[in-house]
Symmetry: C2
Subunit: 432 residues, 2 copies
Amino acid sequence: MIRPAELIERKRDGGELAPEEISELILGYARGEIPDYQLAAFCMAVYFRGLSSAETFALTDAMIRSGETIDLAAELGRKVVDKHSTGGVGDKTSLAVGPIVAACGVPFGKMSGRGLGHTGGTLDKLESIPGFRIELSHEEFVAQVKEVGLAIIGQTADLVPADKLLYGLRDVTATVDNVSLIAASIMSKKLAGGADAIVLDVKVGDGAFMKTLEAARELAEAMLELGRRAGREVVCVLTDMDQPLGEAVGNALEVREAITTLRGKGPADFTELALASSAHLLSLSDLELDHQAARKQAEQVVADGSALATYVRWVRAQGGDPEESALPVAPVVRSVAAARDGYVKRIGAVRVGVAALRLGAGRSAKEDAIDHAVGVVCKKKRGDRVQAGEPLAEVHARNDAGGAEAVREVLAAYDLADDPPPATPIVIDVVT
Amino acid sequence: MIRPAELIERKRDGGELAPEEISELILGYARGEIPDYQLAAFCMAVYFRGLSSAETFALTDAMIRSGETIDLAAELGRKVVDKHSTGGVGDKTSLAVGPIVAACGVPFGKMSGRGLGHTGGTLDKLESIPGFRIELSHEEFVAQVKEVGLAIIGQTADLVPADKLLYGLRDVTATVDNVSLIAASIMSKKLAGGADAIVLDVKVGDGAFMKTLEAARELAEAMLELGRRAGREVVCVLTDMDQPLGEAVGNALEVREAITTLRGKGPADFTELALASSAHLLSLSDLELDHQAARKQAEQVVADGSALATYVRWVRAQGGDPEESALPVAPVVRSVAAARDGYVKRIGAVRVGVAALRLGAGRSAKEDAIDHAVGVVCKKKRGDRVQAGEPLAEVHARNDAGGAEAVREVLAAYDLADDPPPATPIVIDVVT
């Protein structure tokens, strides 16, 4: 075996590593045989030199082989579709997409993550539903997908353990921000989870990890390439995260918004994204629908109430109370009033996300507890006309002091102008 | 305190850290509060982005403050001069320079290191002298410098512990090769050791760490700048390491060559380097000699035998037997014969160094034991005329098999040509 220091040196000098060399490095690290300081140096060398697409695939493959894999398609006897979002502020897409897709007859069994920092995680949102169990055994998970058509659970520790280790290391060594490492991290989990076809929602803008369309496109291309090499179908949607998605930011508030959207009364941008994502999933599924027919069917299950009914069955199956009235409510609700007349030109998504985080909706550190009731509701979105004194947003807080601080933060996040900004669609582009 | 990850990120992005930030990083690391994986990522970021001279000085200063410092000048009541070599093959310079300088009346108290890989260390050479003690207490060390004028000992663990830690980490993370980190490592030890004036021998060529004159000059400039900032006088000599220095490579063989040189009968290149280095040290000393007078005095103490007499007193003071006959002798001596007539065009220094290493003269790993008797003697040097069958070199081995292998290696290290190569002086340049 080649010494790890020599592999680090070769990458440092711009060389390419063979798949088996990357495999040795990653699996040796996962087994605890190669120390974290060597991986830290390797990741920093990768930050500066990049990885070729063959190296990125080798990395992804090695991470997958560090743990167990799931063959859901074999267990269900059907083609399996999955979705992933790179994360943003107010991103509750899975909560609407899951019921829509399942209501159309496509099984949707998904493993999700928790939020960290100003971006929320699907699991945290689900846990705001009283009684909801995010930990199911593998047998329970498969049985529920078969019976209800839908299950969303926490990712098991056995799946891609090397990614968990490596991400933790990258987080504290300033080596997160590399497109190959990000692509490998995301795709290793999707591939190990056994999806035959994957819809990737790459968020772009202030509230997203990818700040520019160029960076988002680069990540999308890297993930598409990994999908091609792994023989899976992948569609990337590049979507706007330059303002919070929908209106609600905060766990129970977002669950409520997902329910409203399944009733056909959700915010325009979130509704559009949920339907568009569902349509991509449906057209990749074994229903073999073209995109237009898939879109129609997604709209249909919302209109006829079957998506909402699926939501109710799903939540009950995982032990939760599906009633809106069961969701926790914050004791203090404050209005954020516009200081002038004008149009909403911009809503700083990070700023709103951080305001929600400080209210207690998210975690600054992994061990932080979450207050599921608190958050922000952005009543006015980009392009909306407002009058001075009119409510821009609502702050849902634990107490008066926290509410007052959040009101100031959210007000500062709103940028009002005399003229309306140019319209930006929620789905900026689709890359396949 | 700023999080280490933020400091790594700033360096990664090409920013400059404040002295107190570098200090936090290095001292936190030395105290075990900042983990090695963060320092590994930092060093790799430094590899790509470099350090400014202010940052390099802050690093040097922090490393010095990680341990104790010595004020030898105060203890001796005199200006203290010191020398350091960046290391090469056959580099026994301190063994000759120490006695010459001390014989001229300038106290020479030096802490040295061990060899690793194909370059030997002064301590290993000294330990080939039967009875020689490299570990003296600080009081013994100072007393001996006062009485004998000369002491060479191992570096104490209290001196610059952060450098030891950091070097060990850099060695296994492909981050050794950065001029700022090398300069800080060398100069931190010299400055902590209390030298007022320092002669730095920067080796250039195949057998040296710096392969090109340009790289050597860059390192010299970085160390001169650190000296300036620390208020010390520094002279850098750039010297040829494109063939072994002198003839002998191997511990006892090198001690014998140093004695021969102190008798005035050493190889031309080594004699010249010993005299030139001594002259630089003398002209920096409180004798206040100009370089020409210093050179004359160095030559004088060799010619009149007082340098050799100082050597004898010094070795005895440290418990060693100064007689040449006391040095260990290898049981097998094999001649390396020239395959053709011609001129020695080149002697691959690394190749000779590795041959000596394999014979047992050095260590591949820190815990390896050394055979002090074995090594290589390069009878013919670059520019020498040879006839087919004439001995180019001698191999001193533990056994026949090792000897035969070394003969092949050393023969391959010699490059013979029809015409003599252009002459290269041992001292290529002096930078101040």
